[in-house]
Symmetry: C2
């Protein structure tokens, strides 16, 4: 990686971290350049505006990360329902980048920005739709294989799972204790099993 694109990437990563913890609007450019030790000139060389940087974070940090941690594991040969449970459990209890008090980065950005920034909204929507359709597809495959009931509606289940994940992430921000994650996972397991 060239020195310049390294600077750009450093900004994106540190800014992502600040935004994940503090929110987008309340993370200032001054704060970002202070923690990255990059000057304002360098920042505005790489990004036209703050929103330009925000979009780059969604597309170049959030999107690939979610692809790796949410989508790819779904494509394993295990039972789709097991996959969904294991991915959720892993995200809630084992992921090293996410902490309970700060929630889900994509969820946070959606909550904060979706009503007021069409570009953010579209970029986030793309990511979520990708997640949703890969859950759907894996469920559809399971129906065809006969491993889950034919009355299962893949679209509904996918949405239900995603909503649950975002919701428990937000709940966790209040509870600040992983007990709620365990409780949630127990019920998720029951819910998924009942689809078999």
């Amino acid at each position: 990686m060239s020195k310049a694109s390294n600077t750009r990437h450093t900004i994106l990563e540190k800014a992502f971290d600040l935004i994940y913890k503090k929110g987008y609007q309340t993370t200032s450019i001054d704060e970002i350049i202070a923690t990255t030790k990059v000057t304002k000139g360098a920042f505005y060389y790489h990004f036209k505006t703050k929103d330009d940087m925000g979009l780059a974070i969604i597309n170049e940090i959030v999107k690939p990360t979610m692809h790796e941690e949410f989508i790819l594991p779904l494509e394993s040969t295990n039972d789709p329902l097991d996959n969904i449970y294991n991915i959720t459990e892993s995200l809630l209890l084992k992921n090293e980048y996410l902490t309970i008090e700060f929630g889900c980065p994509a969820g946070n950005l959606t909550q904060e920005m979706a009503p007021w920034n069409v570009e953010f909204s579209n970029a986030l929507n793309e990511i979520i739709l990708e997640w949703q359709s890969s859950i759907e597809e894996s469920l559809q495959l399971a129906i065809e294989k006969g491993s889950i009931q034919t009355t299962v509606n893949p679209k509904q289940v996918a949405l239900f799972v995603i909503a649950g994940y975002w919701g428990i992430r937000n709940y966790g921000k209040l509870a600040k204790n992983i007990d709620c994650y365990h409780t949630y996972l127990e019920e998720l397991k029951r819910y998924l099993n009942q689809l078999k």
Copy 2:
């Protein structure tokens, strides 16, 4: 209501509306006093700080409203599962104060403020715990009456329902279309029926 307490209440209501739509941090005092046509002197006579007003909004607007719309309907004599479904449907599709693109006021505030404001966090947590425990209690009663399975774990189901609600509210902010609410409600119905 005296003129003074009327001023105070007007501030709280209009500020709530702005904060619901724009977020807490990005709603300025200047904006609040502009839309309420109250002067800064009046504002700071009624509220020590912005956070003081924020707390008052949670305790005096959000809390009673949620009590009325989330808790009280649970106490009707219907089947608890029907109650849960009907309340959720009513909140998602029929509530006149809530709109899909702006999500859930309590969920928004949690997302934005929980990690950084202990007082907000505590106040919001109180509200959610009240909601949660009233769902729990109504499920417990149903178990005792024999109308749902004895293997149902009320704590788990309550958390699952709340997470789902907050999650679909956040999802809706991206989707900006009530189709997702209908899809979610279908699966919620299926999930709840399976507990019988």
